[in-house]
């Protein structure tokens, strides 16, 4: 009875989140280039392990980056995650800033249609841009802010082929990036202005993945095809000018990743991933006027469960996760200087509902950029909470 109650609760939480879905933004001064900062992961378990996941799979949660991981799903899964992010900005010389935000990050649904075949549908953030500059003096204020991001609606399919797990996902990109320049004058004789440059992005891409699990080892790889998204740029000004001022393309370059995992027993799991994307090959004209830089990400992490026995005490079934992540962001800041991000990650996996469902909790602590090269540094804290519930759809109950 109690487990059903919790199931219903988790379902309601997810439904409410779905209704209120709005890509969670987060402030970062580094999000002012191109399409903003990219989000590669939406799986809280993976985040707790430093971002690994290419080689891993899970019967409860699924990993967006490698659709092959879906094959382990044997019950219909509804997963969603919430995120809070805070960036303390150090500008040097005692100047600083603080940007923070939180909200729904992603929602997903995975449905096993046959044994070893799973389809998945979900929406997740691809990028975000959120910052605000402000000048205040006796004549008034001037601000430049950005709000918005690109979201991704994905439709994935995965199946078991012998020892291999393979999967493919169609990614439908959509979103809007607003850059707002405001002038507010103290004098009532001078009219205030607000110019909103909004870029609406749409497009499609595909990504694929494969996994194999020989003994205690796990190997996985995934790649995403390059694509050109359609960008419609519209200008809206306070006096009432509204018009499309340009149409262009936004190129998302090819990416690939590889992962390695090792599970010496059912309680320990260790993994490492590498991912790279050639943003440096994208011309500024196809990156909203900004210059890209080749990005890469190196992550490692582990997970420990005291007991995998379903009848053992609750706290023995909690998963403890740790990891680290080092990445180079896809933009130069300033031109010629790469931006590095380093985080240490921790997480917990809290099972409920007979162990079929889980709440994942992850914290990332780290920094982006440095004052010497990038003239600005961010100390970042990200908190993620993921809820995964289960249902039995399209599966006949076994006869007794």
């Amino acid at each position: 009875m109690i487990s059903k109650k919790y199931l219903r609760l988790s379902r309601y939480v997810l439904i409410i989140a779905l209704v209120l879905v709005e890509a969670a933004l987060a402030g970062s001064i580094f999000s002012r280039r191109g399409v903003g900062l990219l989000r590669y992961r939406d799986n809280v378990r993976a985040i707790g392990m430093g971002g690994v996941g290419i080689a891993l799979n899970d019967s409860i949660a699924f990993y967006f980056l490698n659709p092959a991981s879906l094959t382990r799903i044997n019950l219909t899964r509804i997963q969603g995650d919430f995120r809070y992010e805070r960036a303390s900005i150090d500008l040097g010389a005692g100047d600083n800033g603080l940007l923070s935000d939180g909200g729904v990050n992603s929602l997903g649904l995975a449905i096993p249609v046959k044994h070893g075949q799973v389809v998945a549908l979900g929406v997740r953030p691809y990028s975000f841009s959120d910052f605000q500059f402000l000048r205040e003096d006796s004549t008034g204020t001037e601000s430049l802010s950005s709000l918005g991001g690109i979201s991704e609606l994905y439709l994935g399919y995965a199946r078991q082929l012998g020892a291999w797990r393979v999967g493919a996902t169609a990614d439908f990109y959509f979103g809007r990036l607003d850059r707002i320049w405001r002038l507010n004058h103290e004098s009532s004789e001078i009219r205030n202005s607000e110019d909103v440059l909004n870029r609406q992005v749409t497009g499609v891409s595909l990504h694929f993945g494969a996994q194999i699990q020989p003994g205690p080892w796990r190997f996985g790889s995934a790649m995403g095809l390059p694509t050109r998204l359609n960008v419609t740029t519209e200008l809206n000004t306070l006096p009432g000018f509204t018009g499309v001022i340009g149409k262009s393309k936004l190129k998302l370059p090819f990416w690939w990743s590889a992962g390695l995992g090792y599970a010496p027993n059912r309680r320990w799991l260790l993994s490492a991933d590498y991912r790279t994307q050639k943003w440096g090959s994208v011309e500024p004209a196809e990156l909203l006027g900004d210059r890209g830089a080749d990005s890469f990400e190196l992550s490692f992490g582990g997970e420990y469960i005291t007991s995998v026995d379903a009848l053992s005490g609750y706290y023995k079934r909690v998963s403890y996760r740790f990891g680290g992540n080092y990445q180079q962001l896809p933009y130069e800041e300033p031109v010629g200087k790469n931006v590095k991000q380093l985080t240490v990650n921790f997480g917990l996996g809290l099972p409920f509902g007979r162990g079929y469902n889980r709440i994942d909790f992850a914290v990332e602590l780290g920094k982006r950029g440095n004052l010497t090269d990038n003239l600005v540094k961010e100390n970042i804290v990200l908190v993620h909470v993921g809820i995964i519930g289960s249902e039995r759809w399209f599966q006949r109950p076994k006869r007794r």
């Binding site: 919790y6 001064i29 603080l98 923070s100 001037e142 320049w181 009219r191 110019d195 006096p239 909790f361």
Partner: protein
């Protein structure tokens, strides 16, 4: 039951608690990044620009209009204008048994314009057989529009001291005739053809400085005179221009009504800008202006779309006294006086519309609205023709959106 509790655990509630914590954390105040940090990409910022446009087309249309309603009755000559005034009185309610022994008309001096020696003003009986219409009568040029007896009833010396009053003696016979009921009482005219300046006396609107007639009467059988005082029911001054007004400056005036039209070409400014401020400045041409002690209130209106099919608008052809008057839009106000060097109108909203669509740009019309100085005050401004360097200018501050 014990087993179930162990399996389910209390953790979902813990998760919900974490969510609440996240939302609470998200509700703190961010601290924005100073724009002065230099980290903002200049290309993402818009630009503030300024532009100055000299008037493209300007013109003045003039017309003598009816001056009824003013506080001043002008007589004399000034600024190549000659002015006279008319007074009309109510039917005199004196019985036949009362005789008018003597009558005087007192006029209170208010203003003087121009310089010159004292002059003689004469008062005449109006002999017109048709009543003059105070709301329509004008002079303008040529013969005086109302017939009068050229033989004056009386002559008085008018001084340039603005507060000096004069008292005309009226012919008792003429005044006695005002009690007839045949409707031919047309009042009196005051003129001064030999004047060297112009003097204003209070009109019937200028309480307590309105004209006053004082009658000395004697009732049949009595030996003691009675005194009766009354004021005119209608008074108005009429003027004619003795020589043409100097062409070139842009004029505004109400008695001799001048309306100026100005057109600025703002097509060089992109359509998508925000006009922060647009100031139209006109420099006052004091040599060609006529100001009283009161300042002249000016109104600037935008000419709205003209609903005439295929009408090719040209501000120089705009007829400010015609039916297009009702196309005028939102007014901007300012005042101008003898000490003014320039007048400025904020026309930000209009320029925003002009920039957005050049079809909206039909120019502006400048005219005075001061009823207290409605008569012969006139403001002149430098035009493209008279002084290109001092011609009306439109200074526009605007913001160019980020590209």
């Amino acid at each position: 039951m014990k087993l179930k509790r162990k399996i389910a655990g209390p953790l979902p509630l813990f998760g919900v608690g974490c969510l609440c914590l996240l939302f609470t954390l998200a509700c703190n105040n961010d601290k924005t990044i100073p724009l002065s940090s230099g980290l903002a990409d200049p290309a993402q910022l818009g630009q503030r620009r300024q532009a100055t446009t000299v008037v493209g087309l300007d013109s003045t249309a003039s017309k003598v209009v009816n001056t009824f309603g003013t506080a001043n009755l002008w007589v004399g000559k000034f600024d190549n204008l000659e002015s006279r005034f008319l007074l009309r009185f109510a039917k005199l309610s004196l019985p036949d048994t009362v005789t008018v022994v003597a009558a005087t008309l007192k006029l209170h001096g208010i203003l003087a314009q121009g310089k010159g020696a004292d002059f003689d003003a004469t008062i005449h009986q109006v002999t017109a057989t048709t009543a003059w219409d105070s709301a329509k009568v004008t002079w303008g040029s040529g013969n005086f529009p109302v017939d009068f007896n050229s033989a004056p009833m009386n002559t008085q010396r008018v001084s340039a001291v603005k507060g000096d009053s004069i008292i005309f003696k009226l012919d008792p016979v003429v005044v006695s005739s005002w009690r007839t009921v045949d409707g031919r009482q047309q009042g009196v005219l005051v003129q001064a053809p030999g004047a060297t300046f112009m003097k204003a006396f209070g009109s019937h609107f200028s309480t307590p400085k309105q004209p006053v007639v004082e009658l000395i009467t004697l009732k049949r059988g009595n030996t003691k005179n009675d005194t009766t005082r009354f004021s005119p029911t209608v008074s108005i001054f009429l003027f004619q221009r003795l020589s043409a007004l100097r062409q070139g400056p842009l004029y505004t005036g109400l008695g001799e009504q001048h309306v100026s039209t100005l057109f600025f070409d703002v097509s060089a400014i992109p359509k998508n800008v925000t006009i922060s401020r647009a100031l139209l400045t006109l420099e006052v041409d004091t040599l060609n202006s006529v100001f009283y002690s009161n300042r002249l209130d000016l109104q600037l209106s935008y000419i709205g779309p003209i609903a005439i099919p295929n009408y090719n608008f040209n501000p120089l052809r705009f007829e400010p006294f015609g039916s297009y008057q009702d196309t005028l839009r939102t007014a901007e106000l300012d005042t101008v006086g003898a000490a003014s060097q320039q007048v400025t109108f904020a026309i930000t909203s209009a320029v925003q519309q002009w920039v957005a669509d050049s079809k909206n740009n039909l120019g502006v019309v400048l005219f005075p609205i001061s009823f207290s100085a409605r008569d012969l005050a006139r403001a002149a401004f430098y035009s493209r023709e008279t002084a290109p360097a001092r011609a009306p200018k439109l200074q526009i501050e605007y913001t160019l959106p980020p590209q």
